[in-house]
Amino acid sequence: MAEIVLSPTSAFAGIPRGRSGQTDGPPGVIASERTDLAMATIIARKGQSAALRDTVREIYGLKLPIRPTWVGNDELAFLWSGPDQWLALATGTIGPLSPLRERVGVRAFASFEDAASETTASKALTPPFPTRGRGSPAGGFVDIETELRESIGAFAAISAQGDGRAVLRLSGPNVHDTLAKGLPIDLHESAFKPGDVAITQIAHIGVTIRQIDSSPTYEIILARSLSLSFWSWLVASSGEFGLDFT
């Protein structure tokens, strides 16, 4: 019997690259899939939100946002994801254990007990917490789940999301015109800026959208099981402008 080999496949892997819709002139919308991301949700434990934010600031040098914005860079970003909730995005093929903390030159807690003993706010904690989850996706992405559990697991519940989400980056002169056909929020520069995040829906599909730059470039994060439905909406809505999938 032949050996079955399962290999990771990105959400939009089956979509042909290239131009669709109107083909005259330059494309109105440029889409690309981000396949280089590891993702995890962070939900503050009860009463630990302030300690969590302090610890993230100390370890990663980033302030977890308390309103719908994101902080960070290509290597590590935290997106607001609801009250006391965040989505961590990390890149790099340095897994399975990420030396993120070594690279930013910070102290790592030796254990959850150490982390807990450093703050009086965490007396209610009952370590040990699980330190290993499903690990990184095959292919050696940053194991963001284990990384975060080790660094901030005393203050937050961490769960890996990389296998379950799809991420598209959208730009181009008609990106606003296209998104306006499905997105119920205002993307005008006076209402939504680089660094902003919104959780909402497009064509009944739940999405998180963040603005990367003022060109403008956006990133849409959605459940990968709905990626083809989203693609169908995107192709139809960008058709009059021309879509280039790179």
């Binding site: 309103r67 719908p68 994801s81 609801g82 009250p83 909730q85 119920p184 929020i185 919104a198 959780i199 909402t200 829906q201 739940g206």
Partner: protein
């Protein structure tokens, strides 16, 4: 109708799921008159023509429960707060 979510900003009501009266408190099941109290809790509702505090869930947004004060005649919303804040306040008040 648009609901000003304290976290996300103003959003269309289609992003929210409706539960109902926010003033209901689950009765003590060990009380001697628990059966009658539960009947009231489960079935009996006032139907005010005017301001009503009600629970809405921001299902397609930040996933927070909100207490929305809405005029049932006009849909005018005069106040929104996270249900967590309202619950903590009630807890503190005993």
């Amino acid at each position: 109708m648009r609901i000003p979510c304290p976290s996300c900003g103003e959003r269309g009501h289609e992003e929210f799921a409706y539960l109902g009266d926010a003033s209901l408190v689950r009765p003590d099941p060990t009380a001697p008159d628990a059966e009658a109290r539960f009947a009231d809790y489960v079935y009996l509702r006032d139907n005010p023509a005017g301001a009503l505090r009600e629970l809405w869930y921001h299902a397609a947004g930040c996933h927070a429960w909100l207490v929305v004060t809405r005029d049932t005649r006009t849909h005018e919303i005069s106040g929104v707060e996270p249900a967590k804040a309202a619950a903590l306040r009630r807890q503190e008040a005993g």
